[in-house]
């Protein structure tokens, strides 16, 4: 049986007990949806005492299925005002599973001043400890100090100053396997602010002396299937640009066809996109002792992560991803990869979402606060966020808050959350996902690029988005979507895997049903939280301004968006 840990911040108590039977075979996004709909009033104040912050592992956590040790973080989002599941790699999921813990619930608000950390020690005990000495620290320094204080392999989940200051763009950072860098981010939706509101600075998970063993329904069958699936992923990864290069390889695909966002989603092409693409990246890695093909969690066969060094060969950042590069790069008219890597480092350290922060900078450029392409200016503004200046606090409110404050007419957000690195006019199914995902504008909820007839056409876009949103939803309950993408021909085996682990049905409908039920639960939460059809729309400018790269506008009609989750 999996356990849950309940942390009540009101009086700083910690309780460990068996997880409810009905939640045992859930994980990730599904578990978060089912937990939140039953335990958190949708209309609560996201930073108030009724909201809860939850961390959970996946359905297959602790198993030998590759990438099954991702972690999900959930709660009512301080940014969107709706339900939020933010999915993250790193080492924490694997170690939580080794402790036999599937779910951590953090509820209530402290009545006294203070700052705490939750500590799973090597003996398997879990306790809340004083962390006031860490107040105001950012993630790299914090993690460094934690490692100095404990002589054991461990994972960290932490917030920087941004979370403590309740910035709505605040992330929760998780340490990478092996390197321990706090560079994996549960970035979206401002869950770092939720953690900050609970005054929980970090969670430390030490590698336990006694590893929890799960009682499989049919271990032999599980191993047989997982072996087959792992082999598929390993085979697929050989030719996967995410493995051979990194997610930055996406730049070449999107830069050529107008999907790459340029100058605050102007829809233009960016002639210099190759300067922030795979070639520059690989050359810099090789010349400076950087690395790619790194695993963020143990046992990953895709290994898309990387370590990027500066010109002098010093470590700068890791997990430098396409979204960060696209949005701080061409979307801010910046073509300096080193400057972008520095921005990534600053965001990880402070603990903010690079997508939200980079869109905020583009809106600042659109509004004349910065010049297009001014990378020094962006770094200066990120510094203001780090220092907590008055303008820094405003920037921490996210792209929409900043855009409105500056009178910007073109604010690229849906459900108050900034759009990811794909122009929705030139991959319209992704636009449908941005518009309708209960998560707000989130590419991981269903990126349709290349999957409909034509990315710029109307046909089959809502269809492709619907299918992918269901698939991504159940994938987010199980594993990393990059490994999942190599399993597509054998997806029904995932149901057999569930049956081999937990018993019950091995019908594929169990898996697809998980996706559908989760989406509908999230929609119900959002509806009760006050979100309406009007929140399922893209900003007007995507409908009204043709993309100069293709002439395309977003022209999926409202009814198609309204019925996308009619199952």
């Amino acid at each position: 049986m999996w356990s849950k840990v309940i942390v009540d911040m009101k009086n700083q108590t910690v309780k460990r007990e068996a997880l409810e039977v009905e939640l045992q075979d859930l994980g990730g996004r599904a578990l978060i949806a089912q937990y939140l709909i039953k335990n958190v009033p949708p209309d609560c104040d996201p930073l108030g005492s009724e909201n809860q912050l939850i961390f959970c592992t996946t359905i297959f956590a602790g198993s030998n299925l590759t990438t099954a040790n991702r972690m999900s973080v959930g709660g009512k989002s301080p940014l969107t005002g709706g339900i939020k599941e933010s999915n993250v790699g790193g080492y924490a999921g694997a170690l939580l599973a080794e402790h036999g813990v599937k779910l951590i619930v953090v509820k209530g608000l402290p009545e006294t001043k203070g700052l705490w950390q939750l500590h799973f020690d090597r003996e398997g005990n879990v306790s809340l400890e004083d962390a006031e000495g860490y107040e105001g620290l950012n993630n790299y320094e914090l993690v460094n100090r934690i490692h100095k204080s404990l002589d054991n392999r461990l994972a960290t989940i932490s917030i920087g100053a941004a979370g403590e200051r309740l910035y709505k763009c605040a992330s929760i950072q998780v340490s990478e396997f092996a390197s321990n860098h706090p560079s994996r981010a549960a970035a979206r939706g401002g869950l770092g602010a939720l953690m900050g509101s609970k005054r929980l600075k970090s969670i430390i998970i030490e590698k336990p002396l006694n590893k929890f063993t799960f009682n499989y329904n049919d271990k032999e069958r599980f191993n047989e299937i997982s072996k087959k699936l792992n082999r598929m992923v390993a085979e697929g990864a050989k030719n996967d640009p995410f493995h051979n290069i990194g997610t930055i390889a996406t730049i070449e695909a999107t830069g050529a066809n107008g999907v790459l966002p340029v100058d605050n989603f102007s829809g233009k092409l960016f002639p210099k996109y190759a300067e922030v693409g795979s070639g520059t990246f690989l050359t810099n890695l090789s010349n400076r002792g950087g690395r790619n093909k790194l695993a963020c969690q143990p046992g990953c066969a895709v290994q898309c992560s990387n370590e990027y060094r500066d010109k002098s060969g010093e470590y700068l950042t890791s997990g430098l991803e396409y979204e960060t590069i696209a949005l701080f790069g061409p979307n801010c008219h910046i073509s300096d990869l080193d400057a972008i890597a520095m921005m990534d480092r600053m965001c990880d350290d402070l603990g903010i979402d690079t997508i939200e922060a980079a869109n905020t900078m583009a809106v600042c450029m659109e509004s004349g606060v910065l010049n297009w392409g001014d990378s020094d200016g962006v770094i200066k503004l990120l510094k203001e966020m780090t220092d907590g200046t008055e303008f820094g606090y405003l920037l921490g409110g996210g792209c929409e808050a900043v855009g409105k404050s500056l009178g910007c007419k073109r604010i690229p957000t849906v459900k108050h959350q900034a759009i990811a690195g794909y122009d929705p006019r030139n991959t319209k199914g992704t636009g449908v996902t941005y518009a309708t995902s209960p998560m707000g504008a989130d590419h991981t909820a269903g990126l349709t690029m290349g999957r409909a007839f034509e990315d710029t056409g109307r046909t089959a876009q809502a269809y492709a988005s619907n299918k992918l949103q269901v698939a991504m939803c159940f994938a987010d309950c199980m594993m990393c979507i990059f490994a999942f993408s190599h399993m597509v021909p054998e997806l029904p085996l995932l149901a057999e895997l569930m049956a081999a682990m937990y018993g019950g049905s091995s019908e594929y409908a169990r898996v697809t049903g998980l996706g559908v039920k989760t989406l509908l639960t999230e929609r119900a939460f959002n509806k009760a939280a006050g979100l309406t059809k009007e929140d399922d729309r893209l900003p007007d400018f995507f409908y009204n301004e043709p993309s100069p790269a293709t002439g395309s506008r977003f022209d999926i009609n409202d009814h198609e968006l309204d019925v996308i989750f009619d199952f």
Binding site: G457, R458, T459, E560, V563
Partner: protein, 384 residues
């Protein structure tokens, strides 16, 4: 909206056009062609004339007369093996959709390894085949101008399509005289298939101004001339118009694609073995009424082409209802049976709803419809 019209097949047309088959095949550089047809057509004497014509032009022929309705993969694969063995350099198909789709299936396998089911779906990178000439003998399928073939998959028990440039003919020969002998029931069923292509193409997500123009003209012609051809099969003017309308509708739908009506038709056809045109007809009025919610401007066009008035102020729902009634009236005038008259129970027909909504063709529907919504359409159409 920016749209595209990309599939186009050269055509020669008119009474007696099929007498040019030999000349045209020779012009294409073919020396030995496989002629694909069904045995029934041979009995009518149509194929012998075309075979003679080819021989007189100095073109050698291999006959494949094993075409059956809803061509199964096994037959297509056997014919392709024969074609490769014989070293043919062209294919001539004579007949309805089954003959033409069989020919396309054979062509897919000319330079791509069987089984054909490997190639279901949109295929952009298949190896080229040989020149194909299509001579339709019905006015409905439109397959002579499309880039797809529908094949029955015997192992999966369903129908699926290969969509590929390899399925595009080098020439279509439209000779209305070849359709003179088509019996009334087949005239009606194939004609309604063409109507279904036109009204679904005009309301689909890939519709474009060119396909709309072709579809509108097809609807106008069918509304006027299909009842004439149905009552008087010897009326050559009606036959001329109908073969033209069928080709117009084919050109429209290969560029704009069809959606819900064809998903329903494929499910009905596979489960109850009813002719494709009839299967398209039974729920077509309700399908177009469903599209009106978002495609009301297009449905208004359909009403105009059918010759019914729609007021300027009409709502989307009212336009949909008008189209439904007009289409039903046309279908009724051709004595096409409804689902009940086909001997299918409502329960059995509605059981198909999950299969219909799971059909990948639903990707082309103007907006998402639930299984319950499809069951409702079937219920409404059941004894209408």
């Amino acid at each position: 909206m920016i749209t595209s019209f990309g599939v186009f097949v050269p055509i020669i047309m008119g009474r007696g056009a099929s007498y040019r088959t030999g000349l045209k095949v020779r012009e294409l550089g073919c020396k030995k062609v496989m002629v694909v047809y069904d045995k029934g057509l041979k009995e009518l004497g149509i194929t012998d004339v075309i075979l003679d014509n080819l021989h007189n032009a100095g073109v050698e022929t291999i006959s494949f007369d094993g075409v059956v309705p809803d061509p199964p993969d096994t037959i297509v694969e056997a014919a392709a093996a024969l074609a490769k063995k014989e070293g043919i350099d062209g294919i001539v198909a004579v007949g309805g959709g089954s003959a033409i789709d069989s020919a396309k299936g054979i062509n897919v396998l000319m330079n791509n390894e069987p089984p054909i089911m490997k190639y279901f779906g949109i295929q952009k990178n298949l190896k080229k085949g040989v020149p194909m000439v299509f001579i339709p003998t019905t006015s409905g399928t439109g397959s002579e101008v499309t880039n797809m073939c529908v094949i029955s998959c015997t192992s999966m028990g369903n129908k699926d399509s290969v969509v590929s440039p390899v399925c595009v003919g080098s020439l279509a020969i439209l000779d209305p005289e070849l359709t003179i002998g088509l019996p009334p029931k087949l005239t009606a069923a194939t004609g309604i298939d063409a109507l279904a292509h036109a009204v679904e193409a005009i309301t689909g997500g890939q519709a474009n101004p060119l396909s709309d123009a072709l579809a509108r003209e097809a609807i106008r012609i069918i509304a006027k001339w299909l009842p004439v051809a149905y009552r008087d099969g010897k009326n050559i003017e009606a036959r001329e118009y109908m073969i033209l309308a069928s080709t117009y509708a084919g050109m429209a739908f290969t560029n704009a694609l069809v959606h819900l009506g064809h998903c329903i038709a494929h499910a009905l056809g596979a489960s109850f073995h009813i002719p494709h045109g009839i299967a398209c007809a039974v729920t077509l009025p309700e399908v177009i009424e469903y599209t009106s919610k978002t495609e009301f401007k297009k449905v208004r066009m359909i009403c105009e082409c059918l010759g019914v008035d729609v007021s300027e102020e009409a709502t989307a729902e009212a336009i949909g209802e008008t189209a439904r009634k007009a289409l039903r009236s046309l279908i009724k005038s051709l004595d096409i049976p409804n689902i009940k008259e086909l001997g299918i129970t409502l329960e059995d027909a509605q059981k198909l709803a999950p299969k219909i909504t799971a059909d990948s063709g639903m990707a082309l529907a103007p907006y998402r419809i639930t299984t319950a919504g499809v069951a409702e359409i079937i219920k409404h159409a059941f004894d209408a």
